[in-house]
């Protein structure tokens, strides 16, 4: 840990840390990350460091490689170059489920709920690793298992309630409205007890009032659970209002990094991204 902290100090330029996180180990530390798909470089030289209670954003034009970065962070793809450290542990060669256990959780751009299961069960799947009970126990439904299961139900209900979804707990996930599905996905991600949550376009398909509600909820998540949030979003209003730090990517590379104000004024960003402001409605 000390070793690591020293390393951190050596390369302060990567960090977007908030002041209160300065003396803490970053939850996510990505160095020189890159991936090639059959000769095509999708992501290159991607560096980012996120502190334990930071809300940061990843923006960029369509096809810039944002979701690919999320897939790399959660080991859906294995990187060609570079390293990813989650809570100080290198995820090289790990499978997705192992990385999740290190404390990273995510939502998906094209919602991936367990559509045939109830909302409550969706969250309970997220709590899977929290129910500590050997296979044989759960096979025979012994009392300790039943107790653990009961606790999981309570916790899942708490989480649903937190996002204002308690009353749809018994409904099939697939039948819920779009905005609700997005929020349910966030609850499911929170259920894995993460130290960082990756949100892939959480406001997509939401109406303005739902988006405003979501902004409050994102802050509330950070403040209640004391975790970091890293989000991809096209809605500039949300990004600029919620994020404390922003990284901009284009063609798989970071072109700018900084606070919302800095980003707004960055000429490279304006050219690559905000320059297309008039096309914003299309996003």
């Amino acid at each position: 840990m000390n070793e690591y902290s020293k390393k951190m100090l050596k390369v302060p330029t990567y960090t977007l840390l908030r002041e209160q996180d300065m003396d803490k180990l970053p939850v996510l530390d990505v160095r020189n990350l890159g991936i090639d798909f059959g000769g095509l470089t999708a992501v290159d030289s991607f560096n980012i460091t996120i502190g334990p209670t930071e809300i940061s954003g990843l923006i960029g034009p369509n096809g810039a490689g944002k979701t690919t970065i999320f897939n790399l962070l959660t080991s859906v793809y294995q990187p060609t170059r570079g390293s990813i450290l989650i809570n100080g542990i290198d995820t090289k060669g790990m499978t997705t489920h192992k990385v999740t256990k290190l404390g990273i959780a995510r939502t998906f751009q094209n919602i991936r709920l367990f559509t045939d299961m109830t909302a409550l069960d969706n969250v309970k799947v997220g709590l899977h690793n929290e129910i500590k009970c050997p296979f044989v126990c759960s096979l025979f439904h012994v009392p300790p298992y039943q107790k653990a299961e009961k606790r999981a139900t309570e916790k899942a209900m708490e989480l649903l309630d937190f996002m204002g979804l308690a009353d749809i707990a018994d409904q099939k996930a697939g039948s819920l409205p779009y905005g609700v599905q997005r929020r349910l996905e966030i609850v499911r991600a929170l259920a894995t007890n993460p130290s960082i949550v990756l949100l892939d376009e959480p406001a997509a398909g939401m109406n303005p009032s739902e988006t405003t509600e979501l902004m409050h909820q994102i802050r509330r998540i950070r403040d209640t659970f004391h975790i970091a949030i890293f989000l991809i979003e096209h809605d500039m209003n949300l990004v600029m209002n919620v994020c404390e730090a922003i990284a901009v990517v284009n063609y798989g590379r970071i072109i700018a990094k900084g606070t919302p104000d800095e980003i707004r004024q960055d000429p490279a960003v304006i050219e690559a991204y905000l320059g297309r402001e008039e096309g914003k409605a299309e996003c």
Binding site: K98, T100, F114, M117, V125, H141
Partner: protein, 357 residues
């Protein structure tokens, strides 16, 4: 108990158990009153075996969404290892029931171990590729068992997998005799044990489905990537389901093997695997009670149609196709929905038929 019944899942499960228990009691009573013919008495054990096989395959196909075409292979492993164990224990264990139980557990364990070994490489594949590999596995098993010799003579226990016949000394006895299979098997199986097998299978499968493991398995089937993203080890869960399913099939196989005085490896072929799959699909994927009922009906059906003589199998095929069309076709489903809607409309006047939503 009241609360238990409130939960829809547990209620369905209770019904499933209840149906099996009631069916057992009825058959057992009829049997004790000597009201069953030999053929019906003959069906009882294999029927229990096929129900167990269907339920255990449903765990794999219906719940996990993995198409397996080699379930009979596990059944065969269970049958032959069960037969060997039962024969070996003959001198040492007096009680037939204990021997049968030992044989079934051994058969299950052997099939489970096989399932595990095969699962390591095979479970990396998905969909139809998994299906063809399980088919291949079933064929390999059949081929190997057909060349397996197990026996005892004065010099002890002998085992060989060999293309040429293993020869035993004078007075030796083969338990498994290559292509001739197992002959002179002592019939240990009985209906009560078959019933217990079904109950155990139901217990294991239903509990598994309704536990956190089952939830995870369903999650994997529903959306593999999302399941992985919440920390579920997909391969481990497929493996667990595969091994449990193989274990149960092995137990059923052991009971099957010990219900006949002779059995050959060719019984456990592709056709048998397919028949079990038919039970599962017809009963409804993931519907355990459905598997129980469809295994019963489809097993009895060709027997009940014996009177049709040479037209028996062709009519069975026609019935099978028609039933599949009626239960799965969207058009037919629509038609039945309209029909039931109309009936509802009759009982609930004032509401437009088929417009209840």
């Amino acid at each position: 108990m009241k609360q238990l019944l409130k939960n829809k899942n547990s209620r369905t499960n209770m019904i499933t158990y209840l149906v099996v228990i009631v069916a057992y009691l009825i058959m057992q009573t009829l049997n004790s009153m000597d009201m069953l013919g030999s053929s019906v008495r003959g069906y009882l054990v294999p029927l229990c075996v096929y129900i167990s096989l269907a339920v255990s395959l449903n765990l794999l196909v219906g719940i996990c969404g993995e198409l397996s075409l080699g379930h009979a292979g596990f059944m065969g492993i269970g049958a032959f290892s069960g037969i060997v164990i039962a024969s070996l224990l003959k001198g040492t264990v007096q009680s037939d029931t204990l021997r049968l139980i030992a044989a079934m557990i051994a058969g299950g364990a052997m099939a489970g171990v096989m399932g595990f070994l095969i699962g390591i490489p095979v479970l990396r594949l998905r969909g139809d590729y998994l299906a063809i590999v399980t088919l291949a596995f079933g064929e390999i098993m059949k081929n190997i068992v057909g060349n397996t010799y197990v026996g005892v003579d004065d010099t002890g226990f002998h085992f060989a997998i060999s293309p040429t016949k293993m020869r035993l000394g004078e007075g030796g006895k083969y338990f498994i005799n290559g292509p001739l299979g197992a002959t002179g098997v002592e019939k240990l199986a009985n209906f009560t044990m078959g019933f217990l097998l079904v109950m155990v299978t139901l217990f294991v499968v239903l509990n598994l489905i309704n536990s956190k493991e089952g939830r995870a398995i369903r999650a994997v089937r529903d959306n593999r990537i999302a399941a992985e993203s919440v920390g579920i080890n997909v391969t481990a869960f497929r493996m667990k389901a595969f091994v449990v399913s193989a274990f149960l099939a092995g137990m059923a196989g052991a009971l099957f093997g010990l219900n006949y005085s002779a059995i050959t490896a060719t019984k456990f072929n592709f056709n048998t695997s397919i028949n079990i799959l038919v039970f599962v699909v017809l009963g409804g994927m993931g519907n355990i009670l459905g598997s129980v009922i469809s295994a019963t009906v489809l097993y009895i059906l060709p027997e009940a149609m014996r009177g049709l003589e040479d037209f028996r199998m062709i009519l069975y095929a026609v019935v099978l196709i028609l039933v599949m069309l009626f239960t799965w076709s969207p058009k037919f489903k629509e038609a039945t929905a309209v029909f039931t809607g109309k009936i509802k409309g009759i009982f609930r006047p004032g509401k437009e038929a088929g417009n209840n939503e």
